[in-house]
Symmetry: C2
């Protein structure tokens, strides 16, 4: 059995561009694990090449961020100019460091990178995050330099994230190579979402938005020009990562189509995956080539690959963060019959309309249920689907409706609940009522509520109860579509949710 | 000449469902104006039927709102139960009031409404906002009651907004029939956008969002079941309203197709109009029928009518508010060549891609301009369109790029500028720089910047300078599309912008 596993590992090794994969065997009973990418996320010791306290230099920001956010590993600045950097002993060269270094962080001019890598090879350091730009994204000239560093790494068995990237953020090890100040970008809390992004600016924007939304992050990787480690291998790694429950990917191009489909098909059986693919039209393809040297290729092929792999594809920034959120907070829908309950008729109409346009079934409320409800409700209330409790609704009306239609009856598979808070007949108690009934029903429930400050307060209260809130009919329905799509995938593949 | 005008007025009178239109002649030189709807927005005296201080009753909230927001007209409570309501003398019946009343506000049980209208007819009061529900939205039974009130109004020449509505908000006269507390819904500032909405909840949600965005409002009308006054006549009225520059419409159905197209075609020549049509699919059509009794009809016919009338159609809540905002803040684009400038490559790629998907032309930067720029910029900067100033950009790079490409050169018709603020090399000064160059160029500029708290601060600063900001590539590009569509319309119709 152990032998079989070793063989399997070796198959993986050969698939991986011929690069050496470090293998670690744990324990006497042959339990073992490939540690290939682990040191990018949880290094015990990190050498920062070209380290300085000069605020104009990004190594300074990287080190300050690591200190401030409580990275527990050893920090080793390397720069012949200094004896000490931010209180840490600074070495002239990697060659002077006696102890084992897990990872280098390289943020120096691009023409100096090959030399740094060669030195690192001499020291037996097998992992590097190359933050520096000035490679393939510059066209032919930069590409030659990129090929040079690829060749060194291939020869020396060095694994690389980058170049031209921000690198890594791990909220569990507190390791991060971000050089952006947390005063300008809110650092997200610890959680279960991991993000893979070819683009650094996109990754940072997503981080800031997710932090704002209170969505917890496990890991974020921005791999830029992707000279070595790309999304396929990262997906393989995250498939086994306990703190990753959902994976979101921003993609300009894919590293290795076949490997990607294999990795994603395997991963998506246990973990929902979302992708935002750019480079759909000529202008996007052009821009992607200039940005990370990516050859975006035919969009239709990507589309088919995502579908085949069980990845939910989204078409924009808000849809991306919404899909991540809803998949983290709610389980997939087993079916397609969606109940809508509201105290705002017009918003109910808009949600119903969007459901129809997106293929969700706004089935009529069964007559037996309508009959029962009509005894409890004013004649003004509309009991078709949407159930419109009108502007006169009080909190308890939501209780009655949700209990009868969602808890005591299995006709509907999920619900979109739209408690609009402007009428004073509605109080904050409705949050507890709806949340409680949603949990009791065992069915996915998402909330749509629109408005300013007061509505945002209500949103936070719902989300503290684990019920996701979306700020418009369109975003709410799209989020429900994601749960329905995930549900279909699970049922088609015979996966237990 | 005067006679001709009188004839024209009379044509309008006969088109209007046979209802009597009040005509007011001003001055000795035959200057005159139809005052039909004026009293709904700026009544000198308002009788509130069923007025009470009981907080459970919505008349109480209506009166309190009027007092708090400084309505200058006379407020006349009517209720046989009280001598005084909120300090105002209360009358037993409309018949007891000696002075002229411009408008009644009716928020009493639906079965009592016909009697109130008959009494109002006796007093010669020609305008009424019927807030009460319990009419056509309830189906056949309610429809009979609605027909009854329509018949009374037709016979007596009473003009009605409603029933089943919130009514009116006018930010210039401070008149409003809203019964929703401004503690829960932010009241928008005075401005130039007017909103027409069949749905009350939609209107309130839009108000709250617009107030949050700092967008100024002129008038908002929610007409609910639309027994009489509908969007066509309101558009005619707003065409001449000086404080309305842009009109946004939320529509379930249209009152009178031909009149709507005529009114909108005329209005949209001088004022941009935006519509969000719901009831596109069966579920939405069904829901609309239950909501306001609206027969939503074939969506394709609406689509063609909007196009014919020069109305910009949007497909969701955010798109609606974004379109209103961009049309208020920027002028139409004369062409289709869009420049993109960013310091975030990935977001630039996403914007470029969305432009392509939406038919905008992300034309290459002319070589002469590229050559000039290459002398000023680092070799890492990408000078194709998008111009990517990379994560190393400083404020002045935006100045150089915008001056060369947008101010000194007429190749591009408009620009999407994407200043991402996380890098510390970017400071708040960039807001002044970009705003200044945008104004100097004389071309429409919209900003895309993504993120949390710090980014929102930058957003507010840009918008204080009149440059609209959108929080994602998709929303920003859609907003630019609105300006391009408006530009095409203006050029096709030979209208001077």
């Amino acid at each position: 059995m152990a032998c079989l596993c070793v063989e399997l590992i070796q198959v993986t090794v050969f698939n991986c561009r011929g690069l050496f994969l470090e293998k670690v065997f744990w324990g006497a009973n042959s339990t073992f694990r490939i540690m290939t990418l682990e040191k990018f996320f949880n290094p015990k010791s990190v050498a920062v090449i070209g380290a300085t306290e000069n605020p104009q230099n990004i190594t300074s920001a990287i080190i300050k961020n690591l200190i401030e956010t409580g990275f527990k590993g050893r920090l080793v600045p390397v720069n012949p100019k200094y004896k000490e950097v931010f209180g840490f002993m600074c070495y002239s060269s990697l060659l002077d460091i006696k102890e084992q270094i897990d990872l280098t962080v390289i943020a120096i001019p691009s023409n100096l990178v090959p030399e740094a890598l060669s030195q690192q090879a001499t020291c037996g350091i097998k992992n590097s995050i190359i933050v520096s730009g000035g490679f393939g994204e510059l066209g032919d000239k930069g590409m030659a330099l990129e090929e040079k560093i690829k060749s060194i790494c291939r020869k020396e068995g060095i694994r690389v994230i980058g170049p031209n990237c921000i690198g890594v953020l791990d909220n569990y090890s507190n390791f991060s190579t971000s050089f952006l100040p947390w005063t300008r970008v809110k650092r997200p809390i610890k959680g279960y979402l991991s993000i893979l992004s070819q683009s650094g600016s996109y990754a940072i924007s997503v981080i800031d938005m997710l932090a704002q939304e209170g969505i917890g992050i496990s890991k974020i990787v921005n791999y830029g020009n992707r000279a070595d480690v790309g999304e396929s291998e990262l997906i393989e790694y995250l498939t086994d990562d306990k703190s990753t429950h959902v994976i979101g990917i921003y993609m300009e191009s894919v590293d290795d189509g076949r490997r990607f489909i294999n990795a994603a098909s395997h991963c998506s059986r246990s973990k929902p995956m979302i992708v935002l693919k750019v480079g759909k039209g000529d202008s996007g393809i052009d821009a992607a080539r200039s940005h990370t040297g990516a050859i975006a290729g035919k969009y239709e092929i990507y589309k088919a690959a995502f579908k085949k792999s069980g990845i939910v594809e989204v078409s924009g920034f808000e849809e991306f963060t919404d899909a991540c959120k809803v998949l983290l907070m709610q389980k997939p829908v087993r079916g397609n019959k969606i109940l809508i309950i509201t105290n705002g008729g017009g918003v109910g109409v808009a949600v119903s309309d969007m459901c129809g346009v997106n293929g969700l079934d706004v089935a009529r409320t069964p007559s037996s249920v309508k009959e029962a409800l009509s005894k409890r409700f004013s004649k003004y209330y509309i009991l078709n689907n949407p159930i419109d409790l009108t502007g006169s609704a009080v909190d308890e009306d939501y209780d009655v409706a949700m209990k009868s239609v969602l808890v005591d009856n299995d006709f509907f598979d999920a619900a979109i609940v739209i408690p609009l808070m402007p009428p004073q007949t509605m109080t904050e108690r409705v949050v507890e009522i709806i949340s409680q009934r949603a949990i009791e029903s065992g069915k996915p429930v998402v909330i749509c509520t629109i408005g300013g400050e007061y509505t945002r307060k209500i949103k936070v209260m719902f989300e503290e109860n684990g019920i996701p809130v979306f700020p418009s009919p369109e975003r709410c329905v799209k989020a429900m579509c994601v749960l329905v799509e995930r549900g279909k995938f699970i049922q088609n593949r015979g996966i237990l949710s």
